[in-house]
């Protein structure tokens, strides 16, 4: 690995956890359900970039592309289910706060 690649590698290894942490911070500091889902999306973006980085620097991007595609599909399914839940919660409580979900029974 030459000097430029090493700088690039370290840069990606530092930035991808940062994206994950930005998403985590969003989840920890909000009670709006949509904002929480946005945080989860940003966390998955960080993981996607980390997969792509590992594929690029190990010279095998074709394998990591599979993982990225699987992850995107999982991401879409999560968002679709979350969207259904959000719509139902908004209909029931007329609010998007996570405080209301604590009142659920069962």
């Amino acid at each position: 690995m030459n000097a430029e690649s090493l700088i690039l590698f370290k840069l990606y290894i530092m930035v991808t956890p940062l994206l994950f942490i930005i998403g985590l911070f969003s989840i920890m500091t909000t009670r709006n359900i949509v904002a929480i889902i946005i945080g989860i999306e940003i966390m998955t973006k960080g993981v996607t970039l980390l997969f792509a980085t590992s594929g690029y620097f190990s010279s095998k991007p074709e394998i990591t592309q599979n993982f990225i595609i699987v992850m995107i599909i999982v991401e879409v399914v999560i968002l679709t289910i979350a969207a259904g839940l959000i719509i139902n919660i908004a209909k029931k409580y007329d609010s998007l706060s996570t405080k209301n979900i604590r009142n659920l029974k069962g």
Binding site: L11, I13, V15, I21, G23, N32, N66, I69, I72
Partner: protein
């Protein structure tokens, strides 16, 4: 070296856009900025020699997910100002979150600098011959396809259950 500057610029844009997406006052603008994050991530994926993943990212994450977000926000119509003021998190929780973030960043920097990580191990089977993405999907990781199909079916089932009307609902 010019390539390095492009990478740095794109990563800077991704981080800045994601910070604005999580901290914006209006949720709908946050969702649109999330689409921007996906767009920049897809450019980075193209530059990291992952064109199929970039195409998926651009079409699904930047397109479909943004559309779903905007439609959910417009259906639920969240009240912006009052709701946001009521649901504010206390300051000490934010401080705890910030401290944990600084701790994780410190651990990452320590691992990278002190342990001198400068390589990623290559899989033994993967290094044998030149392989395309098509080969790796259909020959090497074909079990993943079953998992993907199951996940999609789970999503369809969940949507059907979630949007089913109750007995007393008209």
């Amino acid at each position: 070296m010019e390539n390095l500057y492009i990478h740095i610029f794109l990563l800077f844009l991704v981080v800045i856009t994601s910070v604005f997406a999580v901290s914006h006052f209006r949720i709908i603008r946050g969702a649109i900025l999330l689409g921007g994050v996906s767009f920049f991530v897809s450019i980075i994926l193209f530059m990291l020699k992952a064109p199929m993943a970039a195409m998926f990212e651009l079409s699904v994450c930047a397109g479909l997910i943004t559309v779903i977000f905007i439609s959910v926000i417009s259906i639920t119509n969240p009240p912006y100002i009052d709701q946001r003021k009521q649901n504010r998190i206390s300051m000490w929780k934010k401080i705890v979150a910030l401290l944990s973030i600084i701790l994780v960043c410190g651990v990452c920097i320590y691992i990278i600098d002190e342990k001198n990580i400068a390589f990623i191990p290559v899989m033994k089977n993967a290094s044998a011959a030149a392989m395309t993405t098509k080969d790796s999907i259909w020959n090497m990781r074909h079990v993943d396809l079953i998992g993907q199909a199951l996940i999609l079916l789970t999503g369809i089932f969940a949507v059907v259950v979630l949007f089913k009307k109750g007995k007393d609902e008209k």
